[in-house]
């Protein structure tokens, strides 16, 4: 039994232990603010775990989503709900106990059944020998994309990814439909939301210097997705986060003046439209849906390069949608739906 130093089990066990601690703490704490913050720590740890498993793209996504967006959304919501958990109340829901017993039995069975699973990190496991070698060996020659994850995500399984973009689009739409109010008489009682006092000179200065860097970095992540971890989703989240930062450093109105409500909506739909439109263009040119090879004639390049360009184009679509959706989710959730004032 030889253990490669690149997979340190001590490292894993420590992180997993910390993750379990964080999970338990997040559920046990009484203040929702504390819970949200501990959930953020949980997200850091899981990202570390994924980096260690060499899933850099996944870690990147988790870094963008878990570390920033989820926590901000939690905090935005926590403004509008009772932040304290009421304790010592009689429990009379017997059905919950029954469910719990069943869950524990399932847990024991499933833990027991792990004996049957191939051992962890075994290069000879079925998962690593059936499809994945084909992807690794062919992706570069078929799509000219060294990042195999990007190639699989945006080309081999681009149909999934299109619907991934549709999912975030749907989420923005649902949040809008659920939360946003057009009539002004239902406005939130303002005494629940004290105004911010004073000017935050330091913060604004920081924002002015950070935000452009952030946006350029987001574009780099988006466009460099072929060669390094990253891509449309991660780039989009970071770009969206720059607007959230703007809203946090100034206020919601300020950021919404830069990126107006209608523009957000158009971008939400426009990104998916770009994605699906490219697919439909391929379809119109006689290939199947999302067969980027069809673009070869238009772009005047080979099939393989056409696929590479196609991947880039759909990644841009994903980026636009995700960016707008993150901004939209923040705007809606942090302002309670009236788009007046955020966190």
């Amino acid at each position: 039994m030889t253990w490669d130093t690149s997979l340190l089990w001590q490292f894993d066990i420590l992180i997993l232990l910390m993750m379990v601690i964080c999970a338990v703490t997040a559920l046990a704490l009484e203040g929702l603010l504390s819970s949200a913050i501990v959930t953020g720590a949980y997200s850091f740890l899981i990202c570390l775990m994924w980096t260690h498993m060499r899933a850099v793209d996944v870690a990147f996504t988790e870094a963008a989503v878990g570390a920033a967006i989820s926590t901000v959304l939690f905090l935005g919501t926590a403004q509008y709900v009772n932040r304290w958990i009421k304790k010592d109340r009689p429990r009379e829901q017997g059905i919950k106990q029954i469910t719990l017993v069943i869950a524990v039995i399932c847990a024991v069975m499933m833990l027991n059944a792990t004996r049957d699973l191939p051992e962890w990190a075994d290069p000879a496991s079925p998962a690593s020998t059936h499809l994945s070698p084909r992807y690794i060996e062919q992706a570069y020659f078929e799509t000219a994309t060294p990042n195999v994850v990007t190639a699989v995500l945006a080309d081999y399984r681009s149909y999934d990814t299109m619907f991934e973009a549709v999912v975030v689009f749907a989420a923005a739409l649902v949040v809008m439909v659920v939360l946003r109010r057009t009539s002004h008489k239902h406005r939130m009682a303002l005494h629940l939301r004290p105004k911010r006092a004073g000017r935050d000179t330091v913060l604004r200065g920081a924002a002015q210097s950070i935000i452009p860097v952030m946006q350029i970095f987001a574009l780099y992540v988006l466009f460099h997705g072929h060669y390094s971890p990253g891509g449309g989703f991660q780039g989009g989240v970071i770009f969206g986060a720059s607007f959230i930062l703007l809203a946090l450093c100034y206020n919601l109105k300020f950021s919404m003046n830069r990126f107006r409500e209608h523009a957000v909506l158009w971008c939400c739909a426009g990104g998916v439209l770009l994605y699906a439109g490219i697919g439909a263009a391929c379809l119109a040119m006689g290939w199947n849906f999302l067969g980027y090879g069809a673009l070869a004639g238009v772009l005047g390049v080979s099939d393989v390069m056409a696929r590479s360009h196609g991947i880039l184009a759909v990644e841009i679509g994903v980026g636009i949608t995700v960016m707008a959706v993150m901004v939209s989710l923040y705007n809606d959730l942090a302002s309670g739906g009236d788009l007046e004032e955020g966190l």
């Binding site: 719990l100 690593s128 499809l131 070698p133 995500l153 739906g337």
Partner: protein
């Protein structure tokens, strides 16, 4: 002893994922506060994602981004790269998770406004009225 150690080393990742999964499920089922339920949901989902990413790990493998030899030829040894497919699936699943989280939080705000509370038993009481 060595056997046992080997067994633990070979499987601990799956165990941790399953333990986290049931912690999350516990939160979703038993917690009375809806926000806690949502946090439980996040833990539950990430546990599943952790489990699936664990599938893609290979001993001695590097990130699934091709390396190039000095003469610009890709090094195509499948055992040298982690399995990319689970990463792709999980990327999608993370996005789905965020989407669900956003919707759940929006509903939570509405519940607070309609019922004046986010404690489950108080809501049920309020609904019975």
């Amino acid at each position: 002893m060595d056997e046992l150690f080997y067994f633990i080393i070979a499987k601990y990742n799956y165990w941790a994922a399953l333990v986290l999964l049931f912690i999350g499920l516990f939160g979703m089922i038993v917690k009375n506060n809806l926000m806690k339920k949502i946090i439980g949901m996040v833990i539950f989902q990430t546990a599943i994602l952790l489990f699936i990413v664990s599938i893609g790990v290979k001993r001695g493998a590097t990130v699934p981004i091709l390396q190039f030899s000095p003469d610009k030829q890709p090094l195509l040894d499948a055992t040298a790269y982690a399995n990319p497919l689970p990463h792709v699936l999980i990327l999608t699943a993370i996005v789905v998770g965020v989407a669900v989280l956003g919707v759940a939080l929006a509903l939570l705000q509405k519940i607070q406004r309609v019922h004046g509370t986010i404690e489950e038993d108080e809501i049920l009481e309020d609904m019975r009225k």
